[in-house]
Amino acid sequence: MKIILELFGASRDFSKKDYLELEINDQTSIKDFKEILLTFIDEKFKGNKDFKKIIQSSAFCSEKNEIISDNYKILKEQKIGIIPPIGGG
């Protein structure tokens, strides 16, 4: 199924668009989704270490705007937001 990953902060450097479109299996967990993203970085950005660090230190949020844990399973096509380390104000 198709997932739209909305990009924020430093992860915006992953694409010229505001999002990535990724194909994943039903019931993929956030933990596994991170691995898919790391593979994406390997393939598209030659394993850029800084980009990988961003993924490893990011949280993710659901379509309902809730921060979701590594165990959260993605059950349907939806938008997921990647939330890199924050620092506003």
Partner: protein, 150 residues
């Protein structure tokens, strides 16, 4: 009483006057205005501007949560709080955030103002990209977001 907003700098700028209008009330004897502005140096680098990025829905949610929890955590029940944060490119000296609070007494106004900005720093998904001379720029590292839920 709470007002929150993420302001796209392309549409308008933050306004202290709007904050003042919102919190003004004869119910309160103390007001504090905190503003954050873009400064010209960070980590020994000359900064010429900052782009702020925001997950608007989560930011507003975090502002509301921070406001609501001050009832219990700080025991400040009667208050007016105005929080606006900019997003987009800001030049040096421009306002990135306004937090205006009004309470009955000064002690609680100071505590409340400080609490709100510190919690925003920890919990609100806002990011900064600094811009330097020679068309260089970099996202600031930041801290992993707290408040994880299943």
């Amino acid at each position: 009483m709470l007002h929150t907003k993420v302001i796209d700098i392309k549409e308008k700028k933050l306004s202290i006057t709007e904050a003042e209008n919102f919190i003004s009330s004869s119910d309160f004897g103390a007001s504090i205005f905190f503003s954050g502005t873009v400064r010209n140096q960070n980590n020994n680098k000359d900064v010429i501007g900052i782009t702020y990025d925001s997950h608007d829905a989560l930011v507003i949610k975090s502002f509301e949560e921070i406001y609501n929890e001050t009832d219990q955590k700080l025991n400040i029940k009667d208050k007016a709080v105005f929080i606006e944060h900019s997003k987009g490119y800001l030049n040096l000296g421009e306002l990135s955030i306004i937090i205006a609070v009004a309470c009955k007494h000064r002690d609680e106004a100071y505590v409340l103002s400080r609490y709100v900005i510190e919690e925003i720093k920890k919990r609100s998904p806002i990011w900064k990209k600094e811009h330097y001379e020679k068309n260089e720029s970099a996202w600031l590292k930041g801290n992993p977001i707290l408040n994880e839920k299943n």
